[in-house]
């Protein structure tokens, strides 16, 4: 199984995500710099990490979405590679058009850094197969721009197609329909604001995120 984590100037969750990939798959992901134009051949899993890429200049994720490596990510996604964007990574995926909608400033204007309860809405996806449908989990969030926005038609389509993977179980940041994470049409790209990579081992205090990575790796190993 080949995985990679994209590193932008200002990424700060890249090593956490790499640790999660390595802990579950047993192999180290390639760390890919934003200026690189190619990913390893036959890449299976790409992580787009959290942080403040390019200092959040212009809009969160806007510059990163236009960096050279993202064309390679888009190509790999089209080929069926799994792409997991967390926090700033979610913002990068919406800015690059791999996922619909946009992430606005939190409704209350505050940076929010706390554990939040979530509901797993779609437990059929490659990312959520180890969870039960409707299961409650707790992941930490740490973001200023996590307020998911899309026009009503897009929201209806996301809901109708089962592409709302995760929903906040309480009002957190003003997100439309409390959306916390969405899938692309093919189901191989997931963007989410909460941080599963921060809750994968007992020392983290919680382990709810572990099954997301376990499920992904299990699916990939079965596919190989």
């Amino acid at each position: 199984m080949k995985s990679a984590v994209i590193v932008f100037p200002g990424s700060n969750c890249d090593r956490d995500l790499a640790t999660a990939f390595e802990a579950m798959s047993g192999s180290k992901p390639a760390m890919i710099w934003h200026r690189d134009t190619e990913l390893p051949d036959d890449i299976d899993l790409i992580g787009v990490p959290g942080g403040f890429s390019y200092g959040d200049y212009l809009r969160s994720g806007a510059m990163a979405a236009r960096s050279p490596v993202m064309q390679a990510v888009a190509k790999a996604a089209e080929r069926g590679a799994y792409v997991l964007g967390i926090c700033n990574g979610f913002q990068v995926l919406t800015e690059s058009g791999l996922l619909p909608g946009a992430l606005l400033r939190n409704a209350g204007g505050h940076f929010i850094c706390r554990d939040v309860p979530l509901t797993v809405e779609n437990a059929q996806s490659a990312f959520t197969s180890r969870y039960g449908a409707g299961e409650s989990v707790i992941f930490p969030v740490a973001h200023h721009d996590g307020n998911y926005f899309a026009d009503p038609e897009t929201l209806d389509r996301l809901e109708g197609e089962g592409r709302v993977a995760l929903r906040y179980a309480e009002s957190v940041n003003g997100s439309a329909r409390n959306i916390a994470g969405i899938l692309n049409e093919a189901g191989n790209v997931l963007g989410m604001m909460p941080h599963p990579e921060r809750v994968i081992e007992a020392a983290h205090g919680k382990t709810d995120g572990r099954r997301l990575f376990e499920g992904l790796v299990e699916g990939l190993l079965a596919r190989a």
Partner: protein, 77 residues
């Protein structure tokens, strides 16, 4: 040649920054403010002859996110 790009949030898109500015104005005692929307001004210094199509493409591809923002181009001499 210079161009000014005004980027504003679409109507209906929540603007917490505008709201905070509104509250601050009220805090200063200005009572007649009905609403505040904050946007961005981006000034481009362009080679002479840069086409309108190119400037528009710059807006669509990077300067504005048309999911949530509108833009207006103002060319300055």
């Amino acid at each position: 040649m210079k161009a000014r790009i005004f980027v504003t949030l679409k109507g209906g898109v929540l603007d917490p920054q505008g709201k905070a500015i509104h509250h601050a104005l009220e805090g200063l005692g200005f009572s007649g403010v009905n609403d505040v929307r904050a946007g961005k001004l981006i000034e481009l210094d362009l080679a002479d002859g840069t086409s309108d199509e190119d400037i528009d493409a710059m807006c669509r591809k990077l300067l504005a996110n048309t999911v949530i923002e509108n833009y207006r181009i103002e060319k300055v001499a």
